[in-house]
């Protein structure tokens, strides 16, 4: 068959075959050929990642970039507190994280210009400024395409789902979305993995035996036909995954000892963080989490103080503590970001005041793996209205994140339309981030 030639003469199929493939996204030709050649286990150091989206746009000036000496109409009522790292101060409503600042870097003065939620999220959650002609893949989808997954595990899981899809990398690199968040003390059901509809493993095995006997119509064609052969291969792998003790155990947070549970609070985000550590421990390479509600146009301070900051504080501090106790801190990079910061000037939409979208200045957190902890990089100006010096671009942080998890950010991919495109188009790695 004629194959699709692209700008550089590769075919679409060649492009698909390039690189190791994620479990949820193994493509056919690649998987069959690799597995038949016995090459599905390259010896690469394990590098995992947890990406945490904070959609809505968390206020930087009220969290990790306080300006106690700033103008009164800007700085807000929150006070800074000392952290375990001398000289580094964060908001008083993040007391647990203040004990964990040795684990991560605070990036300040990150700056861009896209002040609408969808565009900002596309930018910050893919590392590429959105363009008209191309959908960029979520970080996890790139990882799914690049990392090798275990035979009975998905490679990339999103709890409950990722805001950005696989873009030009195609459906095969989508996240396995849990579509729900775990609740403490209750069994956690994951779409496609948990047994639903009263089905038991033994009944599923009985059905699979029946299926194996009935599914013979194309048996003679399977070896020559990519699609049929692939359906067969994926059907077996799906069954392995669904019936795998390891996979079910990975999602079953009730198996953690009580002492471990105590590291986490009893709210959905903390429980998701707990699950994320468990998934990474089980061999899943990339997990995306999500804590929303940051769009505080009104009642900014009450919402932060009573709800958002405690949840962030509990979840993230639990996550770092959990990774440490499992010995995963060295192999797992954690990256936390919203799509923008919020206006330093307090608006008057409600009695208490709120803050509006503000891409010119924002914060991010990154820690674990190859990332140095216990430092602040970058700086915002006097009133946190913009970066003090040059500041960082989101692309710089994106390039650094990929670098940290062992993916060359300058690597060029092929889009399905044949355009060569770098994983991160314009990023410069921030050397100070690394150990």
């Amino acid at each position: 068959m004629t194959k699709h030639r692209q700008c550089d003469g590769y075919t679409r199929r060649d492009a698909i075959r390039v690189g190791a493939l994620g479990a949820t996204g193994l493509t056919l030709g690649g998987f069959l050929k690799l597995s038949h050649a016995g090459q599905t286990n390259p010896q690469t150091p394990t590098r995992n990642a947890i990406f945490i989206e904070l959609p809505g746009g968390p206020s930087h000036i009220d969290t990790f970039d306080l300006k106690p000496d700033g103008k009164p109409e800007m700085r807000g009522p929150f006070q800074p507190i000392k952290t375990v790292v001398p000289g580094v101060e964060i908001c008083e409503h993040l007391p647990k994280l203040a004990q964990q600042t040795t684990q991560f870097t605070i990036l300040r003065g990150v700056s861009h210009s896209l002040g609408a939620h969808p565009l900002g999220q596309k930018f910050l959650f893919t590392g590429n400024r959105p363009t008209a002609a191309l959908e960029y893949p979520a970080y996890g989808s790139v990882a799914a395409q690049q990392f090798e997954a275990e035979y009975d595990l998905p490679g990339y899981v999103a709890i409950p789902r990722a805001s950005q899809g696989p873009g030009y990398l195609g459906v095969k690199n989508s996240a396995l979305a849990t579509n729900a968040v775990p609740v403490k003390g209750r069994p956690f059901n994951v779409r496609g993995i948990s047994m639903a509809g009263g089905l038991s493993i033994s009944e599923l095995e009985r059905r699979k035996n029946l299926l194996n006997d009935l599914d013979q119509t194309f048996a003679a064609l399977e070896s020559q036909h990519d699609l049929l052969g692939g359906l067969d291969e994926f059907s077996h792998k799906a069954f392995q995954m669904i019936t795998s003790k390891r996979t079910r155990s990975a999602f079953d947070i009730s198996r953690e000892p009580e002492s471990y549970h105590q590291l986490f609070a009893d709210d959905p985000f903390s429980q998701s963080c707990l699950l994320a550590t468990r998934l990474i421990e089980s061999g899943i390479r990339f997990v995306t989490l999500n804590l929303g509600g940051w769009d505080t146009h009104q009642d900014n301070f009450t919402k932060l103080k009573d709800d958002l900051l405690p949840r962030l504080d509990n979840g993230l501090s639990g996550l770092f503590a959990g990774l440490q106790s499992k010995g995963l801190m060295e192999s797992t990079t954690v990256f936390v970001t919203g799509e923008f910061g919020r206006t330093p000037k307090i608006n008057s939409r409600s009695a208490e005041g709120g803050r509006d979208h503000y891409p010119r200045c924002m914060f991010m957190l990154m820690g674990g793996g190859a990332i140095r902890g216990g430092q602040v990089l970058g700086e915002s100006d006097q009133n946190a209205e913009g970066p003090a010096n040059e500041g960082f671009k989101p692309e710089d942080v994106a390039a650094s994140f990929y670098q940290a998890i062992g993916i060359d950010p300058k690597q060029e991919f092929q889009t399905p339309t044949g355009r060569p495109v770098m994983i991160v188009r314009e990023g410069n790695i921030i050397p100070e981030l690394f150990k």
């Binding site: 195609g170 639903a196 119509t217 699609l227 799906a238 399905p416």
Partner: protein, 946 residues
């Protein structure tokens, strides 16, 4: 004079080629290896290029365009992984594949770079680097003794001159023009001749880049040596300068005794079949047998109407003795609402109906996607010709017929409130195509338009010369001009309209300065209250120059003036500088005055109020090479899984059709039948070629591109969801699948799949998992028919599938319940027998008692008889009712129906037996039947169309 000395050594070759060309008719160009053996340059003395072309070594004045630049390409210097990469390599960046002679020359001669050193020739980095594996990131590329090294050296020695004006390449001729191989290892050396605009001709084989479109059929080496590697057909392609020439390569399969093919009521002389047969004959391929009725019915129902046939339909169709039943079935499917819905979805994929990009136009609702879908649906239902549908999209604007801005806003507001699209559907045009958020600059529009309606991937030419077609950056730029005269204005577009807008705001009591999210919210609320709010509109003007272009023109004019007046140069430069700062005030023209359509001459824009009209007229010219071809190829691919050109949206010179005559026939016929889409569907679906079985025969198992058999293909996402719903739905629901399409996945208007529902369950997740078109990339590959792990996990264990299989009103539960009531009937029948026996006894006793005149006892018995009689009637009635409500059910029937509902065929005896054993081992009929259905929807036979 130097030029002469360089051409002289080629005279021998030229003379030979002239003799060769003039000596023969076309057939003499169809060279077989044996024929080649008689040529002077045979593969027997095939040597490396440097030995084959000793002539090049003596070139004393190589030309940058003709030799140096292509040579760098051949050596791989300007490939994408080397210096052709976006960021260059080791500080040197060359244009990809070296088509930008000016820039490349400048890059090589950049002062201080040391790449070209005319004084110390051999120290020039372009010579020193490629011969030294240690110092060159790209490794060793050249030998000092090679002719390539010599050529580069000569070029530098000669002053390293660039190409002032690129020369025009008229034709790139490749000899032979077609190759027929016999066995593995057969080979032919290609010769490539460049015909230049000045009339000269030159053998450029040594400077040509080659490619095989399928190395499993033929391999080609860097020197143009083609080697047969397998049976089948493909093309090898020669690239040199702007020239792209494909050469067909054929190698027939072994001849076999023809099979006896009992074709059904199909006209084997139909043009499609004849044209396919011609190609099959060349390759000794035999068609597979005709698909049996059940196979045909399932396939054609899915392809035309996106719907599985019901068990009743399969029974009736198989039993129907009519000779025209297939033709009749095709006609009746083309008349169904399901056909219109499914092919409207196809046209929405093609034109890019993306909900996210339309959301802001309708204040967050999905109404714009619905309008787009419904506008097309109406036309597909009415079978409006394809060219007219496209014209309605291309030549659209928001307001027509003297409608005022206020009237426009009123009508849009009413539609948004009522969620009705009726008045939109009646519009002559559909402006939303141009109004999508991410489709606003003319380059994006040009790329999208070329892919959508012409099947041409032109985007490469946005940044560099298209490597597989003739399009240059200026072709792209001039084409894109046609899309610069249409713009989306957020509200009012003129002074008059601004006054109207103020009135609208006043009526709303809204601040006109409110923007962004606040405006969206306020407008949404006002719409809910039935008020009129401002709407964005599509406005058509003359094709505008961008500010950047105007600045360039102004600066060029300034520079020209500066050159003319040499003594005033500095002053003028200062003026130009001043102009630069004054951004808003660029002098010079405002509009483009001409443009070129793909492959056309320059077209003047003078006196044309809407230049899109020129595009529309050009597309509908009978000779247009793309418009009809792109469409028929796409439709063909829906019926066969592969296009005649493949990938289906990539009509380019280097990607020729597998059967050019077939594509020509369909495109011509489509135009001659006034772009009648149903003509095309009929023509394809009625062909013997379409109705071929997927079961391969001895000759055609390896054929993937000549349509000698049907190739199983995964169902598109919408059909997966609908087929699952269909398989599990009760009889009364799935008999309406063809007509009641509203909640089906094939009727989802935009890209938000959650609007499709079955039994109240959203289909969004499954549609995404199975790769419904995302409509965001200008690529037919936005729809994925690949398979992935998530899909098989879904089919085996998703809550959707369990929900559907075990739905209390679903088919499985219905049958299980009916069977349970059958059990009750059996119990009732036993009861009835007992009652009847007892009654008979009592009546005998009563008779005796009557004779004995024992009144007391008789009275007692009579009342007992009455009691039992009414009991008997009640039981009888219950039995009658049960037997009315459910026909007789037995397990074989259930298994057969499960097969018909899923894979559309009758099960074999072994399959029935296997299922029966499974059901017997199950704890209940419900469990057994659910398991059988589960297994069937997890077969490959279910998830593919075959």
């Amino acid at each position: 004079m130097q030029k002469m000395s360089y051409q002289a050594p080629l005279c021998r070759l030229l003379l030979l080629s002239i003799l060769w060309v003039s000596s023969g008719s076309l057939t003499s160009l169809l060279v077989t290896p044996s024929a080649v053996a008689e040529e002077p340059s045979t593969r027997n003395d095939l040597l490396s290029t440097r030995d084959r072309h000793p002539a090049e070594a003596t070139i004393t004045a190589p030309d940058f365009q003709k030799h140096v630049s292509p040579l760098l390409g051949r050596l791989g210097c300007n490939g994408r992984s080397c210096h052709g990469s976006f960021q260059g390599q080791g500080g040197l960046r060359l244009s990809l594949f070296g088509y930008d002679f000016k820039t490349d020359h400048a890059a090589l001669l950049a002062s201080g770079s040391g790449r070209v050193d005319v004084e110390d020739i051999e120290d020039s980095l372009i010579l020193a680097k490629p011969i030294d594996a240690d110092n060159h990131g790209g490794g060793k590329r050249l030998d000092v003794e090679s002719w390539e090294y010599e050529l580069l050296k000569n070029w530098i020695a000669d002053g390293a001159v660039g190409s002032s004006e690129p020369q025009g390449l008229v034709r790139l001729e490749v000899q032979p023009a077609e190759i027929h191989f016999q066995t593995d290892g057969d080979s032919v050396d290609l010769k490539v001749l460049a015909h230049w605009a000045d009339g000269s001709r030159e053998d450029v084989t040594a400077f040509t880049r080659f490619q095989s479109n399928d190395p499993q059929i033929a391999e080609i080496d860097a020197n143009g040596g083609v080697k047969s590697t397998g049976q089948g057909d493909t093309h090898v392609v020669a690239f040199y300068d702007q020239g792209v020439t494909p050469i067909p390569i054929l190698r027939a399969f072994p001849k076999r005794v023809p099979q006896i093919d009992s074709s059904l009521a199909i006209d084997d002389a139909a043009p499609i079949d004849r044209l396919v047969q011609q190609k099959l004959d060349k390759l000794n391929l035999q068609r597979s047998a005709v698909a049996d009725d059940a196979m045909f019915l399932r396939r054609v129902s899915l392809d035309i109407a996106g719907t599985l046939p019901t068990p009743a339909e399969i029974h009736a169709f198989v039993a129907d003795p009519s000779a025209t039943k297939r033709q009749d079935k095709i006609e009746s499917l083309l008349d169904t609402p399901a056909y219109a819905a499914w092919w409207t979805t196809f046209l929405c994929d093609l034109s890019g109906n993306n909900s996210q990009e339309l959301r802001n136009l309708s204040y967050g609702s999905d109404i714009a996607s619905q309008q787009w879908y419904d506008w097309i649906l109406k036309r597909v239902s009415d079978n409006v010709p394809y060219d007219q549908i496209v014209e309605g999209i291309v030549l659209s604007s928001s307001r027509s017929g003297g409608e005022s801005y206020t009237e426009y806003c009123e009508s849009m507001s009413t539609m948004a409130k009522s969620k009705s699209t009726i008045s939109f559907v009646d519009r002559p045009d559909m402006p939303l195509y141009w109004m999508r958020r991410e489709n606003q600059d003319r380059e994006t529009r040009a790329i999208g338009f070329a892919q959508n309606f012409l099947g041409v991937q032109i985007q490469c030419a946005q940044c560099h010369k298209h490597p597989f077609d003739r399009w240059s950056q200026s072709d792209f730029e001039e084409f894109s001009r046609f899309f610069s005269g249409v713009s989306v204005v957020q509200s009012a577009a003129s002074e008059q309209e601004r006054a109207e807008l103020r009135a609208i705001y006043e009526q709303l009591g809204m601040d006109p300065k409110v923007k962004g999210g606040n405006l969206q919210r306020a407008a949404r609320d006002a719409l809910q209250q039935g008020k009129t709010v401002p709407f964005a509109q599509l406005v058509v003007t003359r094709p505008k120059l961008t500010n950047a272009e105007r600045k360039l023109i102004a600066e060029a004019a300034m520079a020209a003036a500066a050159t003319a007046q040499d003594e005033n140069k500095e002053q003028d430069a200062a003026k130009a500088k001043g102009k630069k700062k004054n951004r808003g005030n660029i002098r010079g023209p405002l509009y483009h005055t001409e443009g070129r359509l793909l492959g056309s001459e320059a077209i003047s824009f003078a006196g044309v109020s809407d230049v899109r009209q020129l595009v529309s007229d050009w597309m509908r010219e009978e000779q247009n090479p793309y418009f009809a071809r792109a469409f028929v190829n796409r439709v063909w691919a829906r019926y066969f899984g592969v296009g005649i050109v493949n990938p289906i949206d990539d009509l380019n010179l280097a990607n020729p059709p597998s059967n050019a005559e077939l594509l020509d026939y369909l495109a011509r016929g489509f135009v001659e039948h006034d772009y009648d889409m149903k003509w095309l569907h009929r023509e394809i679906a009625n062909s013997r070629t379409y109705q071929t079985s997927w079961v391969p025969n001895a000759s055609n198992a390896l054929d993937q591109r000549n349509f000698s058999r049907a190739i199983p293909r995964r169902l598109p996402a919408e059909l997966v969801v609908d087929a699952l719903a269909f398989a599990c739905a009760p009889d009364e629901t799935n008999s309406e699948f063809l007509s009641a399409v509203q909640d089906r996945s094939i009727a989802v208007p935009g890209t938000n799949g959650n609007s499709a529902r079955f039994a109240g369950r959203s289909a969004g997740y499954a549609l995404q998992a199975f790769g419904r078109s995302t409509r965001d990339n200008n690529c037919d590959c936005d729809r994925s028919n690949e398979t992935s792990l998530i899909q098989t996990v879904y089919l085996q264990n998703d809550q959707d599938v369990h929900f559907w299989l075990t739905h209390p009103k679903g088919w499985v539960a219905q049958k299980a319940m009916a069977t349970e009531s059958q059990e009750e009937v059996k119990v009732d029948q036993k009861r009835l027998e007992t009652v009847n026996r007892r009654l008979a006894q009592l009546q005998r006793s009563a008779k005796n008692l009557k004779l004995q005149e024992s009144n007391q006892a008789l009275k007692k018995i009579t009342s007992r008889i009455q009691q039992l009689t009414s009991q008997k009637d009640a039981i009888q009635q219950r039995i009658d009712e049960s037997q009315d409500s459910s026909s007789k059910v037995d397990v074989t029937d259930l298994i057969t129906e499960a097969y018909l509902r899923t894979v559309g065929r009758f099960p074999t005896a072994e399959e029935v037996e296997r299922c029966r054993i499974y059901m017997e081992e199950s704890s209940s009929l419900m469990q057994g039947l659910t398991g059988v259905m589960w297994a069937l929807i997890n077969t490959k036979e279910f998830i593919v169309n075959h």
